[in-house]
């Protein structure tokens, strides 16, 4: 009888811990909500400058690995050719895609309006499309499922709130925001473990994600001294690049990564 009471108490204690942990999570969420920032004076377009450039890979990229979707025929049927991983997407002359180029420093205490328009992350062919997106803090991210199968969308952030939501076929889009700067939040689908994506979250609008031509253009920068960084999902951040932008000036910056 004593043993029964002991296990009843144990079960209750565990259930209580779950409930207690649950309320902790709510508190964390409340804490995560940032105070509404008042945007600084708008940048004067008459003096704003631009930074352009290219990101390149110096050397041969590791051979892309084939993704095996055989275990999920629904996914496999959506492709007529072999699907390769997107860790290194390299164009002509070593142009490197899926790199987030952003201003790391130089904007001082300037604050910026949060864009209302959402950035879309699609699940198409059991792949996240695009592989990398970048948004501003609290800018909506819309996640849609274009596949005839169920996915779960699971960001694994270091500084933001972790969440995990299921999305059956034709389900409503999931709209989420990220409250803190983080470069970058990995996004997984545990139903299909090959599905990976990254969401870079920045405090300001001065960033670009490179396409297959490796090019980027960051416009509307107020004159000043800036530190620029390029970030790649496998290779991490590049070395800092210092750039000084004068009124209406355009400067070019090149980033070169070595493959691992």
């Amino acid at each position: 009888m004593k043993a029964r009471s002991l296990y009843a108490v144990l079960a209750f204690a565990l259930a209580f811990s779950v409930a207690a942990c649950g309320s902790k999570e709510t508190a964390k969420e409340e804490k995560a909500a940032p105070p509404a920032a008042v945007a600084s004076a708008p940048v004067d377009p008459a003096t704003a400058g631009t930074i352009t450039g290219t990101v390149k890979l110096d050397g041969a990229a590791p051979k892309a690995q084939r993704i095996r979707m055989d275990a999920e025929p629904t996914c496999a049927k959506t492709h007529t050719t072999p699907v390769m991983d997107e860790e290194y997407v390299v164009g002509d002359k070593g142009a490197l895609a899926n790199v987030v180029v952003y201003v790391k420093d130089g904007l001082g205490n300037r604050t910026f309006d949060t864009p209302k328009e959402a950035v879309v992350l699609d699940q198409n062919g059991c792949m996240y499309v695009p592989h990398v997106i970048a948004v501003q803090v609290n800018q909506p991210v819309e996640i849609v499922n274009s596949d005839p199968t169920t996915h779960n969308v699971h960001p694994v952030p270091a500084n933001n709130k972790e969440w995990n939501k299921s999305q059956p076929p034709k389900a409503e889009k999931i709209t989420e925001t990220f409250a803190r700067e983080e470069i970058a939040v990995p996004v997984k689908c545990n139903v299909h473990p090959w599905m990976k994506s990254y969401i870079a979250v920045l405090k300001h609008p001065y960033f670009k994600v490179t396409g297959k031509d490796g090019k980027f253009e960051i416009k509307n920068l107020p004159p000043g001294d800036y530190t620029l960084v390029a970030w790649h999902g496998v290779l991490g951040p590049s070395e800092d690049k210092k750039v000084t932008i004068g009124a209406k000036e355009t400067k070019s910056v090149e980033f070169t990564f070595k493959p691992q």
Binding site: A3, R4, L6, Y7, L10, A11, L14, A15, S17, V18, C21, G22, E25, P62, Q65, I67, R68, A71, E72, T74, C75, D85, E87, T149, T150, N152, H154, V156, E162, N164, K165, S166, P168, K188, N190, V191, H192, P193, W194, K196
Partner: protein
């Protein structure tokens, strides 16, 4: 010790132990397929009992279903033992196993709700091993062999086979914890590799001491030792294969079948090795009885008295 065994209860206990091993394999498949969060809700899966069994959902929901059956089997065992078993400690063991399986279910829920916190996942893995051992113990204690009139061998406490068996069990359990810590990203692989080098120094002496000629008449002892030793060898080979497969597929975009196979087999044989060590402990305590120092002295005096009387 002699009492009437209940063969049906024993069969259910053996079946529950086998089913629990199947549950451990199902759990290992979840971790190896990175499917622990393929079902975001708990206790239901996608709000139902019958979610689409695709991709990682197959492993995670499958694990939940196998666990549910384990829970039902454990309830049957605990209730049956409490109603029919005359040994009070057996009734307590039955309820303890039920408590463990309930706690295990709650820990599983916490891992889902809180996105696999490493220490909760490790606790889930550790409790799984303890639960498996408790069910194996119930199967042993309900066996006709355990409850039969066995000859208990009196020996001089050397070699200390019982103590060595206990030390081997503890060493294997710690090694399983280190393996779980690696699997759930709390530690790197090094502590587990160091553990793999140390564990044989506990297991092999325990296993080889059962083959001492002193114990020839100790029923089942040497068989347990041999089984433990062979499982250790298989486990070390599987560990090597799991490490190789992990390194060979480290750049693959998803968990590869070869890595999943060897890792899951390594996890399952790890559980069997622990169970074999527990079995050796139980059997050694059942069939051996060391002579205490004061008994040895009394015996020597008695012998000396007989000799002087004879003179």
């Amino acid at each position: 010790m002699t009492q009437t065994a209940n063969p049906a209860l024993h069969k259910v206990a053996v079946f529950t132990a086998c089913w629990t091993l199947f549950l451990l394999v199902a759990g290992a498949l979840v971790t190896s397929n990175d499917a622990g969060l393929a079902v975001p809700d708990w206790p239901l899966s996608y709000g139902s009992l019958t979610p689409p069994m695709v991709g990682g959902i197959f492993y995670e929901h499958g694990h939940r279903m196998v666990a549910t059956v384990t829970g039902i089997l454990t309830i049957i065992l605990a209730v049956w033992i409490s109603r029919r078993e005359p040994r009070a400690w057996m009734r307590r063991l039955g309820w303890a196993a039920l408590g463990a399986v309930i706690a295990q279910g709650i820990l599983g829920g916490i891992t889902v709700k809180f996105f696999l916190p490493p220490w909760v996942s490790i606790a889930h893995a550790a409790l799984a091993q303890m639960f498996f051992c408790s069910v194996v113990a119930i199967a042993v204690f309900t066996s006709p062999w355990w409850q039969s009139e066995l000859t208990v061998l009196r020996y001089s406490a050397h070699p200390p086979v019982r103590e060595r068996a206990v030390a081997a069990t503890i060493a294997i359990f710690i090694q399983l914890l280190l393996g779980a810590a690696y699997r759930h990203h709390a530690f790197g692989m090094l502590p587990h590799l160091v553990g793999a080098a140390i564990v044989p120094f506990f297991v092999l002496p325990a296993a080889s001491s059962t083959r001492d000629r002193l114990f020839d008449s100790a029923e089942g002892l040497s068989r347990c030792g041999t089984m433990l030793k062979h499982l250790l060898y298989i486990q070390l080979a599987l560990g090597g294969a799991a490490l190789w497969s992990r390194l060979a597929t480290q750049h693959a975009p998803q968990p590869m079948p070869v890595m999943i196979f060897f890792t899951v087999a390594h996890t399952a044989v790890g559980a069997l090795t622990l169970a074999a060590a527990v079995l050796l402990v139980l059997v050694s305590y059942r069939v051996l009885s060391p002579v205490q120092p004061h008994e040895a002295i009394a015996s020597q005096r008695e012998m000396a008295g007989q000799e002087s009387g004879a003179m």
